[in-house]
Homo-oligomer: 337 residues x 2
């Protein structure tokens, strides 16, 4: 596969320029480009430039508002709602994050419901930002049915990722995990299909309802939850938090309004931020958890979530990234005004 | 196996009497007996009378304070701490639940850290009580290392259960799940060992670090997390919430102070309660979620978590429960003053 070398600055400019050429204003384009660049920086290709054609399709079809002006609303002393004005999620995140953090510090913890947005970016970007700001953070989202609840063969849940962040000491980046409650994220299955790689068993069923390791068959069929009925229960919890609780559509409802332009359907997001100094161990919590991480990483075979992303991040700002030439060419073509 | 038939009133009296004969005052004995009776009522034998000998051993050894007077402390407008005074968890729960509920309604959501307690009861009892009171509830706890983090062969995490509750409409009992982040709860492995049943594959490793389906070998060895590295990440999150965040011991620390009397080691619990009317869908949240449950249960092969418990609950108040005669005789003997 022929590849194009880009610096992270070039990734950002390419993404931003392409989005602005297709109907985003500067604020929306910059917010989306920042998450795309963060993904490329961390070697998370499935949320990087790979998604730009989908973003553009969603703008072109009119499904997504490229000029969105998200507005926050107070609901209670510790709860907030952000209406994303029909735009992509990143600008709504960028504008609501400081409000959520301020509330969490004032009340001990705070929750945020983001509605009326289109999700196409990874949750870890926002969770990491809150954790880097000293807060414990949790986020989950749902949209588009692609996972069969345990026991069934029919898509009903989204891939419903959950992300968690914990601040670290000594200038280390936060501990962050971001994982689909599907056995594999849809983006990873798409990358496997693009690259012609077989899936491990247990990831999904084909359109005939039978288990398969062919990523193209799974994309036409249905994913399975991770960890059987326990993972399925967690996927259900995500639906209830990111849709039922905050008043957005469940995955099965979002599907009804999706125009299948390849861009992200509308979906809600639930976020929680907790001030670790307000839960009972004001002075000790940071060092106490560092002792836990030291014990955990001393075990043979254990690696902390996010370690691979941080290893990539140490290199890409100076070395740049490799992008498939076909993808680069496609984005350049989409950027022509 | 010879069995003794008991009414739920007899279960409660047997549990309460045995605890009071072994050093619990009435308030502590009643709170523990209520959770034991709730477990028997719902057919959850692993948290029922089966645990009474362990409770008694912990009282006799002096590890647990049977006369505990738990005290609540305000930490922030939306956060609370409950110091359990070295007792069993149920009385701390009983006294802190109304405080947590009141805070959640006032602030939109609230968090509670329960410290200095000994955990031996199921989380669903408390989560269900909050959800029956109209709140969305989440709880998790950790103590005693018995689960090997993904990639390792050494116990480091507890079985670290997580529980979630959602209020239902039309007088239905709440949607509640309570599941270990271990592939199987330790209590279930203990029941399998008692009954001589083999485990499904993937539950644990023997003392030699190799996979086994022998429950006795797993009890001497180590459990595995459910769902591989994703379940392992969730088990880690539980440690950070139920220990690091609230200032209680991590599982690997709790083990240091456990006297191995068969009773529960000290451990912390993190609870969250959210007022669903304060997250943005004040009027519609209940019906909206009922539509989701209707769609979910219409799928072939899907059953809601808790359905089996509620089916048992429909019968046991009139029919009573069957308890192994050896267990009943043992508790009667332990109850002799």
């Amino acid at each position: 596969m022929s590849e194009t070398h880009l610096s992270l600055e070039q990734v950002e400019a390419l993404a931003r320029g392409c989005l602005m050429a297709n109907g985003c204003d500067q604020a929306n384009a910059e917010a989306v480009a920042a998450t795309v660049t963060a993904a490329e920086r961390d070697g998370a290709a499935s949320h990087g430039l790979f998604r730009i054609p989908g973003y553009v399709a969603a703008l072109k079809s009119g499904k997504v508002n490229g000029l969105a002006k998200p507005k926050a609303e107070d609901l209670a002393p510790a709860t907030l709602r952000m209406d994303g004005d029909g735009g992509f999620a990143p600008l709504a995140h960028r504008l609501s994050r400081p409000l959520l953090a301020e509330r969490a510090r004032a009340q001990g913890l705070a929750a945020l419901g983001i509605v009326n947005v289109h999700h196409f970016s990874a949750l870890w970007v926002e969770v990491e930002a809150l954790a880097a700001d000293g807060l414990v953070a949790f986020a989950c989202t749902c949209y588009t049915p692609s996972v069969a609840p345990a026991g069934s063969r029919q898509a009903f849940f989204g891939t419903n990722p959950i992300a968690f962040g914990w601040p670290r000491g000594d200038g280390q980046p936060p501990l962050v995990f971001d994982q689909a409650t599907a056995a594999m994220a849809r983006g990873e299955v798409m990358i496997a299909a693009r690259d012609g790689r077989e899936l491990p068993p247990g990831v999904g069923l084909g359109p005939d309802g039978r288990p398969t390791t062919d990523p193209k068959a799974v994309l036409e069929g249905v994913l399975l939850p991770f960890g059987g009925y326990k993972g399925s229960a967690i996927a259900m919890m995500v639906e209830l938090l990111a849709a039922g609780l905050i008043g957005e559509g469940f995955s099965f409802e979002a599907a009804r309004y999706d125009n299948k332009d390849g861009g992200p359907p509308r979906g809600g997001e639930f976020m929680l931020a907790i001030d670790p100094a307000r839960l009972g161990d004001k002075e000790g919590w940071l060092d106490h958890a560092e002792g836990f991480f030291a014990g955990l990483t001393a075990l043979d075979g254990v690696r902390l979530p996010g370690d691979r992303r941080y290893a990539n991040r140490a290199l890409t700002p100076s070395q740049g990234v490799q992008v498939p030439k076909t993808l680069h060419d496609k984005i350049v073509a989409l950027s022509a005004l």
